[in-house]
């Protein structure tokens, strides 16, 4: 067969998983400090338990499973796939102990949602959640968004060649600068820059909105993370509608778009290569689809009579659309309104935007603009070929990092993954319908989960049947990994079981 995993392979994977698990303490340490500062003893002990498990387990794996074997591509994929699951299960411990989840599974759901920067939530009574726990939820966006893997790799400077396998397994497959370490560091620098600027801007607008200093900072920081990492968690239950603040929404708009741009694009903008950026296929694809879906949403809202003023259409319609397309998932009104108040066409536009997703190699989810762009170009080429006289040879090109010829070899994997996403959206919807939910809401929720968006139509609730919740859980995981790493895990496990190691 394909794999023949042996003990050494297990060790390699386990070793790196150990490292990643240990790094989870970084996610929990800031909430712990806040909990100590504001003296919430139960939160302190809950976080301590989480950190202890992370360190103990991680250290054990790392020490016990030391090996000389090098990390190969297949190891990398499997490690990444497992890393998300392991991180989820460990982070779920303090979340569960907060008492806001009716089961440990629900807590893992939120943790998975956080790390995959989705934003769907099974947490109950969010409006009475303590600040440290709220912060923990948002920090999972930061950790997951910047890539658990990448984060660890900047801290540890291991041998260069081993690292690239883990990075590619993430679902990001363009290296921005030649060295992986430098790429990772660049990502952090950009993040830090936006963090400072973004949080400050949000803090100012929050103060203007009526928050006190401390509360403004709390909200500013959390919203920044959720926006830039295209996550979607918010400190309160009504999401962005809580703030009623147009200035804040504007800052968030900028951050969401910044968050959906790939880091390659950030690099181009950083280096002022604006002309190159303008020719980039992904950016053009994203701009095109965003404009088209925005039009659908606006027309749909007007047709249904939901909004009739430009201001309303912008602040509710367009903002929701951008939130959906970038994969953030901030809501600007209650989810039930999509069904009761928005007609059918506007929500359809939202679903399409969610399905398409943001740019590849960013924190956004969905099919990704690069694939959509390649598929569209391929389609255009086929159309041109059917028009051209028979002897002509039709070549098509596109601009990624540089001008390239559009080959079938590039189109095919893009199209394969497009199909897989489509099947996932429809499959999840089918399960929702199976459990008695309406087709429109089931499709909405399934797409939101699989594309890591986080907008909810109200379908997802703690009292959903467990299989349905599990389906969404798996969809968030698969969507984030863009299938390949997950398939590698499945295939590898299968081979392992057969080899009876």
């Amino acid at each position: 067969m394909i794999f023949r995993p042996d003990r050494e392979d297990l060790k390699v994977i386990g070793h790196y998983l150990g490292i990643i698990t240990m790094s989870l303490t970084a996610v929990m340490v800031v909430p712990l400090l806040v909990a100590i500062a504001t003296w919430e003893p139960d939160d302190v002990t809950a976080l301590l338990i989480g950190m202890a498990v992370a360190i103990g387990l991680g250290q054990f794996l790392r020490t016990r499973l030391r090996t000389t074997r090098e990390l190969e591509w297949s190891h990398g994929l499997v490690t990444v796939a497992l890393a998300w699951i392991l991180a989820t299960m460990v982070t779920a411990i303090p979340l569960y102990l907060s008492g806001h989840f009716s089961s440990y599974f629900d807590a893992t759901f939120d943790a998975m949602s956080g790390y995959t920067t989705s934003g769907l939530s099974l947490l109950q009574d969010l409006d009475h959640l303590s600040a440290p726990m709220n912060l923990l939820r948002h920090l999972t966006h930061l950790a997951g968004g910047q890539g658990i893997v990448v984060a660890v790799l900047t801290i540890m400077t291991s041998a260069g060649s081993q690292i690239s396998t883990l990075y590619v397994g993430e679902g990001r497959d363009d290296r921005i600068v030649p060295s992986i370490i430098q790429t990772a560091r660049f990502i952090w620098v950009v993040t830090a820059f936006y963090a400072v600027v973004g949080t400050t801007a949000l803090w100012i607008t929050a103060r203007l909105a009526g928050f006190s200093d401390g509360r403004a900072l709390f909200h500013a920081f959390n919203i920044f993370i959720a926006a830039f990492d295209t996550g979607g968690f918010t400190p309160n239950s009504t999401s962005m509608a809580y703030y009623h603040s147009a200035p804040m929404e504007t800052v968030v708009l900028v951050l969401m778009i910044a968050g959906t741009l790939s880091f390659g694009m950030h690099y181009m903008l950083w280096r002022r290569r604006t002309r190159e950026a303008a020719l980039n296929l992904e950016l053009r694809s994203l701009a095109t689809t965003m404009t088209m879906t925005a039009m659908i949403v606006v027309f749909g809202l007007v047709r249904a009579g939901t909004f009739d003023s430009v201001d309303n259409l912008y602040r509710k319609g367009i903002m929701t659309l951008v939130s959906a397309h970038t994969g953030t998932g901030f809501a600007f009104n209650a989810g039930a309104l999509y069904e009761s108040d928005w007609g059918l066409i506007a929500p359809a536009g939202i679903v399409i935007a969610m399905a398409l997703g943001g740019m590849a190699s960013s924190t956004a989810g969905g099919m990704k603009a690069m694939r959509v762009g390649l598929a569209a170009k391929s389609l255009a080429r086929d159309i041109r070929r059917s028009i051209m006289p028979d002897a002509a040879v039709v070549m098509s090109g596109y601009t990624g990092k540089r001008r390239q010829v559009l080959r079938d070899g590039v189109v095919r994997p893009a199209v394969t993954i497009l199909v897989l996403y489509m099947m996932m959206y429809l499959g999840g919807a089918a399960v929702g319908v199976f459990y008695g939910f309406d087709l429109t809401t089931a499709l909405f929720e399934s797409t939101s989960a699989a594309a890591n968006v986080g907008l909810t139509s109200g379908l997802l609730a703690p009292d959903n049947p467990l299989p349905l919740k599990t389906v969404y859980w798996v969809q968030m995981w698969l969507g984030r990994l863009e299938f390949m790493a997950a398939f590698a895990l499945i295939g590898w496990t299968w081979a392992l079981l057969r080899a009876r190691v």
Binding site: L379, I383, D390, D408, V415
Partner: protein, 504 residues
């Protein structure tokens, strides 16, 4: 840069189209005396008003001199498109004059529906439609279906002549026709034999079911045409269930299955090459889809509690599943029940079957089992590539009637392109419906749009005689796009654009 087509190209296309239109119009003209015999004077004159000018123009068209009769790919595609549209225009005339259509757009809709073997109808008061016009509807289906098969073969001949003009995995001309003239004739003989058996069999079954002798011929022809061409026009309201006969339904099922089987497989069957058929990839997917949709439908019906006992579930389940997968669109129950009474799983299975459709190279629609299979193979092989140790490479293949083909990136890309286009068509159609009438449920809109672009013709009560003109137009276009597999329309549009703007 577009090169403008030469005058020669245009002439060749007109000439080729004229032949097709001539055959079609003669058929319509021949229905006029039939109408007189049936005592339908107005229908007779209506038929002549439509057919006569068309015959005249076609005859003139065939006289156009051209220097080359070379059948290039572009010419063939554009010819096909123009022929279909022209024939639909011709047929629309008698339909409109019958007074049973709200507007010209509705009549044209029905005409297109007939020649593309779809089966949707905007006819008002079907039960009082002159019988000769019912025959007209059947003639449209037969002509459209036969033309589709014939065009496919012609393109295949052209392909052999110009080896580079068709990329592998592209639309018509896909299937293998072993041998030329003799093989062709044998295939047509097979199909004719099946047709005659069908007519006899269905005729007998209908008379046993109690259909009076007077209306037997027309009813038989109508149903056989509908089933064998996978069209779906019914002679009376009440669908196939009106006959309450298992035998009739069984015969129609057989005909539908035949209609959705590719010509290549039928030819191989005639030559008793059973092995080749069994191994043929497209055929395997076809059988697989049938099984899956059948299972899904029956399980769904059972769960929804639509029918009380096992036998009705099997009977209606089998018929609906076959009608969906073969893109015929006949039904044994009242159409509205699909939305209201079949639960959720059964319609979902049926829609999936409708979207995929039958085999490529048959008269059915949908994006075809071959493309579905190639896409699936492509995805699976990509997944397996992920699991290979670095450096290993494998060649994936598939069997096409005894010949082994290699799965290339081009195949996968082409299949995916068609699937995407279909999906876009479905979304566009559904959006238009929802825009027109906010009361339509999403399920009904999606089902109807899929039915249109897949040339199925399953009416669930959404498309009604009083539809807005833009709905009718959109769906007319969708049916044409589906039949001509999109690229035909693009080629035609491109051709026209090139004439207008291209440089020589």
């Amino acid at each position: 840069m577009l090169l403008a087509p030469s005058v020669d190209d245009v002439k060749a296309i007109i000439r080729a189209s004229a032949t097709g239109v001539l055959v079609f119009s003669l058929g319509i003209a021949l229905l006029a005396p039939v109408a007189l015999v049936l005592g339908e004077a107005n229908a007779a004159t209506a038929l002549l008003v439509g057919a006569a000018p068309a015959v005249a123009m076609a005859v003139l068209g065939r006289r156009i001199p051209t220097s080359s009769l070379r059948l290039t790919w572009t010419r063939a595609i554009v010819t096909a498109t123009t022929t279909w549209i022209a024939c639909a225009c011709v047929a629309a005339v008698p339909l409109y004059l019958s007074g049973h259509f709200v507007g010209v757009d509705a009549a044209f809709f029905d005409a297109v529906s007939g020649v593309t073997n779809t089966g949707h109808s905007l006819v008002a008061d079907l039960d009082h439609l002159p019988r000769s016009l019912v025959l007209l509807r059947s003639w449209m289906e037969v002509a459209g279906g036969a033309a589709f098969l014939f065009v496919g073969q012609s393109l295949l001949e052209a392909r052999r002549a110009l080896a580079t003009s068709l990329t592998p995995g592209d639309t018509m001309g896909e299937h293998v026709m072993p041998g030329t003239g003799k093989g062709l004739r044998r295939t047509w003989r097979t199909i004719a034999a099946l047709g005659i058996t069908g007519v006899v069999g269905v005729g007998v079954a209908l008379s046993v079911a109690g259909v009076p002798l007077a209306s037997l011929p027309i009813t038989t022809i109508s149903l056989v045409a509908a089933a064998a061409t996978t069209g779906g026009f019914i002679p009376n309201t009440g669908a196939v269930g009106a006959y309450h006969s298992v035998v009739v339904e069984f015969m129609l099922v057989v005909l539908m299955l035949g209609g959705a089987t590719s010509v290549g497989v039928l030819a191989a069957a005639a030559r008793r090459q059973h092995d080749r058929i069994r191994n043929d990839f497209s055929f395997q997917v076809y059988v697989g889809m049938l099984a899956a949709v059948l299972a899904g439908t029956m399980v769904g019906l059972a769960r929804a509690g639509t029918f009380e006992a096992v036998v009705p579930v099997a009977r209606h389940g089998i018929f609906s599943a076959v009608a969906a997968v073969t893109t015929t669109g006949l039904s044994t129950v009242a159409p509205e029940l699909f939305i209201s009474d079949f639960g959720v799983l059964a319609p979902a299975a049926l829609v999936t079957g409708m979207a995929v459709g039958g085999m490529l190279g048959s008269m059915s629609g949908g994006f075809s089992t071959l493309r579905m299979g190639l896409l699936a193979k492509g995805v699976i092989s990509d997944v397996r590539k992920v699991l290979q140790p670095e450096g290993a490479v494998s060649r994936v293949g598939w069997m096409r009637l005894g010949r082994r083909e290699v799965l290339t990136d081009a195949h996968v890309r082409s299949a995916a392109t068609t699937v995407m286009l279909f999906l876009i068509g479905i979304l566009a159609g559904a959006t238009v419906l929802l825009w027109a009438d906010g009361r339509i449920a999403l399920r009904g809109a999606l089902l109807t749009a899929t039915s249109a672009i897949g040339n199925v013709g399953l009416d669930v009560g959404v498309l009604e005689p009083g539809q807005a003109w833009y709905v009718t137009t959109t769906f007319t276009i969708l049916m044409l796009l589906g039949r001509l597999q999109w690229l035909g329309i693009f080629a035609a549009i491109g051709f026209v654009v090139a004439i207008v703007q291209g440089r020589r």
